[in-house]
Amino acid sequence: MYFELFFVLICLSKCYCLDREDDQDQCALLIKWLHSSSVSLEVSKKGFHREVTTTVDVRPEALSSGASVLLLHRWPRGVFVDPYQLASLSDHSNWEILLDSAIDLELPAHKTSGFSTYMFPTTLLPNILKFKIPVHGRYHESSFAGETFTSVHFEPPELLLRTKKCTDLHRFESYPVVDAPCTVSNSSTCSWFKKSQQQEGSSIISMMLPVGDGSATKLVCSGTLLVTGICSVALSKYILKHRII
């Protein structure tokens, strides 16, 4: 009897060890896939209404194994996204987006702070994925140094991977782990492996936005008040001249 009990215990512990080994294998695979993946960003169109294209290159085995992909964009305060526009676009796009905070569509750049978006791809084939999001430039503070443009810098997004088969991520102390929503419905938080960043600043993209000329403030104010004053005096004169008595 003791022999049978001992035998069952050995089998159970072997199953547990196999599970743990499986778990470790899956996590190691995720890290391996992340190492070999790449993500880049480019900004197209001109003016205040731009399109940001994020290109992600992930191993096909990662996608076919059922791993979830998440792109975490940290946007500068010089731009904003229109949540209503994104909602209407997501029906025809290959992504769903979750915003981390409410966005004021009208504030100038210096009165707001940056925000983050969590982009969940809805189609994961083919393995090189392109995601396009419309972004809009905010008005910036006028420049007193004679500059006619200001630059807004975009960092490439963070690529996050997780899989249900890898449950204990925190054992991999040397590899960055991030807590983020599990799905776009934001009902729970999961741990994700984050692709470690390459050298800082190497892949920052910039776009230029026009700004007002602060050094011309006095001229603009006096010119505006002069013209509006003259117009109002002229108009008053003709109104009073042709008034109905």
């Binding site: 001109k46 003016g47 205040f48 209404h49 949540p83 209503y84 209407s88 409410a102 966005i103 004021d104 569509l105 009208e106 100038p108 008005y139 503070e141 006028s142 006619t148 443009f149 230029m208 936005l209 026009p210 700004v211 007002g212 000329d213 602060g214 011309a216 403030t217 603009v220 104010c221 010119g223 505006t224 008040l225 013209v227 509006t228 004053g229 117009c231 109002s232 002229a234 108009l235 008053s236 003709y238 109104i239 009073l240 042709h242 008034r243 109905i244």
Partner: protein, 414 residues
Amino acid sequence: METLLSKLPDKHVLFSASFVVRVALVAYGDHQDRTMEVKYTDIDYHVFTDAARFITQGESPYNRSTYRYTPLLAWILTPNIYLCMAFGKILFVFCDVLSGVLIYTILCLRGLHGKTATCVCSLWLLNPLPMGVSSRGNAESIMAALVLGMLLCMEAKRLVWAAVLYGLSVHMKIYPITYALPIALALRAPQEGSADAKSIRTWKKFVTFIGSFLNRELIVFGIVSGGVFSIFTLAFYYMYGWTFLHETYFYHLTRRDIRHNFSPYFYMLYLTADSRGSQWLGLAAFLPQLILLLVASWSFHQDLAFACFLNTAIFVSFNKVCTSQYFLWYLCLLPLIIPNLTLSVKQGLTLLLLWFAGQALWLAPAYFLEFEGYNTFVLIWLAGLLFLMVNCFVLIQIITHYRPKPPPQRPKAE
């Protein structure tokens, strides 16, 4: 002119055709929205519909960001959610055609011949601008119908109805408040001229002037319109609190939109947005508008339609923010004064072209700023000032060539 008038359709044909054309535009707009990248429907229509959806879910319409209108509009548009998305557009198109009918009726009451009135109101009914605006889903036609309805009731001496419509129009948008002074001046007791006016002391004249406002008609108008406005304001304040007051009224009164728009003050307000003197500049920008409104109200209150047209045009042209939607506020009143203008067709068309040219000169650098990324701020500023000068020139030409309707016959003083 007679041959042109004889070729005009009967007014019922005109009204029906105008409605059919607008409904066809709504149907086309739906097709364009579904098939093309550039959408026909205005973004404002989606704002209204989203706000109406929040109401159907028992929430505040102000949960919809950038909804800055009365909750009444969202309530009226709840059939967008229950029935059909196009309900609001059909309503706006109906109000647009109703505005044309009201213009026709007012012109007939002012003594114009039926055929001439049909010709003049076709300037609104067959005008592509209001057609496009209402079929795209802007709610300006509701305001046009309310203001024209008020003027019709004033013309027909139906004071209570005029007061109800006026109170409602001020609740929906602030700008009709500029009609308060001309209406008050028009309703006060008639001033009797006196041969020895100079010998009356100034203080007595002043007392007589103030006393003329204590008049049954004016008091009734004030109580009814004030009551209608207060009922709606209190009801919505009870339902939605401070947010309603802020988004519907205070936001528009204190609005400092530094993004490019037609206003001559746009660049000045952008450059001084955070400076200490910006409050004084705001006040300096408000003074010409206020003084002109007072002068115009006083000078033309005897012809209420003209006074309202002039007040609205002054308000829009000298405002700190001006978008193309605002033009409809005074364009809907233009057909009422056209029969009294002594301008020739050639002169009228020249002024119209000048007005369009002023807009085009602004739109060009604005396009290059917004969609091509060039720094055209100075050009936009100069174009804004030029557009103000064009507007003032056009208004001066209208004032100079306006022949008011003859005053009602007064009994001879004994």
